[in-house]
Symmetry: C2
Subunit: 420 residues, 2 copies
């Protein structure tokens, strides 16, 4: 049986413990939703204020050069590259995950159209994040491909002569289940298909090595584990073997070989820069840069490997404590126990009242989130940069108290009253 003292001992020994000080976490909050929106890095306020006052206010248009706004997508992209097994010059931070997915999927479909025109199927998981499916649906409709939605365990059997692209999110947003990126990519390649990975719940959360996996395309999110702030720009990576094969259709001036030549003819830039389109939101991009500071400060402390070790220790502890303290309350575990199959979150199922339980926890300052089912899910994200083992203990005690006291039933009742 793990005790509070054990948790405190784990915190005392944790080499990553001091990194919590990088964040402005509100008092009385245990934040288990960094997988939706990472918290505010303490230094971001001052950095953004400087960008507003000095760079925008004083520098005005000159700051595109003097403050380095022009190459922010590349500079921020290079920093993200170090977290996902990509190389400098291969990643740009830009636009939203949905839009970047549109770019890479349309490039992938163009490659298939050229190299293997008989392949007509795009495979994804039925439980993939919906925006990925919507973008795929729209592109398939436009280009004459068929979108095939299956369960994760059906993927190996579904890959075949007809498969054009396998498009997956590495860590599932609902369950926290993680694919073996290298093995899945190998299987898809063996079947002659290209693979697009969405790293929304992976970048900054788990170890990713895109080159080792020989992945083809990847996109990801800036505002979750990269702590980039609300709606921070996303990122896009293309393996160099594909980067220059085709245009992507969002062929705006920032992806032009010479944007300031103002030529009327599009000529795509070399490499990943052709995945840029229009002018980027500089203030939000600077916030993302601050978020990356918090992740990269862990590099000398062991980097993503050290963060991953602590993440697994946190999620192991949460699962163990829930089973120890909340047994008999109808909770199930949606997240795989096996480390190799688990991202950085733990998802619990419950037949009744999951939404109200999450609301009751939030009222107590324990912020996770609810995902409607079936099965309904209580989702808890664990970010090793600022999460303490002691926080895990207290979060579980709150959960136990909410379940034992029945206060969630009152929350559920109020909600029904409000809706009626």
């Amino acid at each position: 049986m793990t005790t509070l003292a054990d948790c405190r001992a784990l915190d005392a020994q944790d080499p990553l413990g001091p990194l919590r000080e990088l964040f402005a976490l509100p008092a009385g909050v245990i934040y288990l939703d960094g997988n939706s929106l990472g918290p505010l890095p303490k230094h971001a306020g001052e950095r953004i204020a400087r960008a507003v006052k000095e760079e925008w206010g004083e520098g005005l248009i000159r700051s595109w050069n003097s403050a380095g706004w022009f190459d922010l997508p590349q500079r921020v992209g290079d920093r993200i590259a170090t977290l996902i097994g990509a190389r400098a010059g291969e990643v740009v931070a830009t636009d939203s995950t949905s839009i970047n997915l549109f770019k890479v999927l349309s490039a992938a479909l163009s490659i298939v159209r050229a190299d293997a025109p008989a392949r007509r199927s795009v495979i994804s998981e039925r439980s993939n994040f919906p925006t990925d499916l919507y973008i795929a649906q729209a592109l398939c409709r436009e280009r004459g491909f068929e979108l095939q939605l299956i369960e994760a365990e059906q993927i190996p059997g579904a890959l075949g002569n007809d498969t054009a692209v396998l498009m997956l999110t590495h860590v599932n947003y609902r369950t926290g289940a993680m694919h073996d990126m290298a093995a899945v990519t190998r299987a898809a390649h063996a079947a002659g298909a290209l693979v697009v990975w969405d790293l929304a719940h992976s970048a900054g959360a788990v170890e990713v090595d895109l080159h080792a996996a020989q992945a083809d395309f990847a996109v990801g999110c800036g505002y979750k584990y990269l702590n980039g702030g609300p709606g921070a720009p996303a990122f896009v990576w293309v393996h160099p073997r594909h980067a220059e094969r085709f245009w992507q259709p969002l062929a705006g001036w920032w992806g032009h070989a010479a944007p300031f030549a103002f030529s009327s003819d599009y000529s795509p830039a070399a490499g990943i820069a052709r995945y840029l389109c229009g002018t980027q939101p500089v203030l939000s991009m600077i916030a993302l840069d601050c978020g990356l500071d918090t992740v990269l400060v862990a590099q000398p402390l062991g980097g993503m490997a050290a963060l991953r070790r602590k993440s697994l220790a946190l999620t192991d502890l949460f699962i163990a404590l829930v089973e120890q303290h909340c047994a008999g309350h109808g909770l199930g575990l949606a997240t795989p126990r096996e480390h190799a199959l688990r991202g950085s979150q733990v998802c619990l199922t419950r037949g009744e009242g999951a939404h109200a339980i999450v609301q009751a926890l939030i009222a107590r300052g324990v912020i996770g989130d609810f995902r409607a089912g079936p099965p309904d899910i209580l989702r808890f994200g664990f970010t090793p940069l600022y999460m303490r083992f002691e926080d895990v203990w207290h979060a579980v005690q709150h959960l136990r108290e909410v379940l034992e006291s029945g206060e969630w039933r009152r929350a559920e009742f109020s909600r029904q009253q409000a809706v009626t």
Copy 2:
């Protein structure tokens, strides 16, 4: 002959004069580049700091509801609507101008494919802003249309049975020449074509009435005359008669009828909301909202009509003073003299040294910009919210001194040295 005293008298009588106080303009700068990047509204720093510290830092994920982040695209869009002759619920602020153009042009091409499949030509101006042409080029290639680039005066003759879409920027970025939106739209409709307007240099600068013109689609920029900050989100409008006819292919979850149902099937939202795609950069969107405050504060003072009157007075004065003080220095006028054909900028041509002259002016604190030709252009934007008639006088005196002293030749020499 206009004198400095005349200019000061104009400022003293100017009912919009006090609005200059809304902006944090650096001392010693005459800012004639608000058509590239509008200046910082004084209140934006505090508002953005609050969004960072309280909304992101304290509110965390809860701020999507409690701070109203979710409907920022619609709320900001509704405010933009009042400046362009659109109605509430018809505009969203989102993504970049290039990406929004992709959305509306692809919707327009889908409509043509359904209603008039024989029409294959997209017409635009050769001197349109390049990113518009690149997006059109990519979409035409993908959809089997032909992009036809012509001069402005050739448009009436070019519209015909084969024309699918006429895609124009209302005010030309290089010359400041403005189309008659109503007349051009009428001519295009008479030929059976749809019209897409880019309002990048119009919104907040000149009077626009999209409904009166019966326009079909419009996009525009947040960081120019709307003072939304570097890379502020852009906006998109679709006439209600077209809004729900088709999906646009950037069909992300924010454009879904029920984004939080997390359905695996795309079902587009009603109206303009289907032109949203992914999560928006909240900090940059809040800066845009502050920028709009500065334009909307002019509403009780006469709104866009009053801003337009002052804008024309400023550009008239600049043209007159340049002709009065800088004659004999080889400057030409690229911007139409006729009010109905002029946006809110004045562009001068010069056979030699235009870049160096702009650099020499910037060194003196007179910030305009250079656009390479032929003909090379010195571009000066006039924003009536903060520009004084006296500023126009001093800007022209600086231009005269730069030309007379030959200091631009030294700037040109340094540049050549630096490049070599």
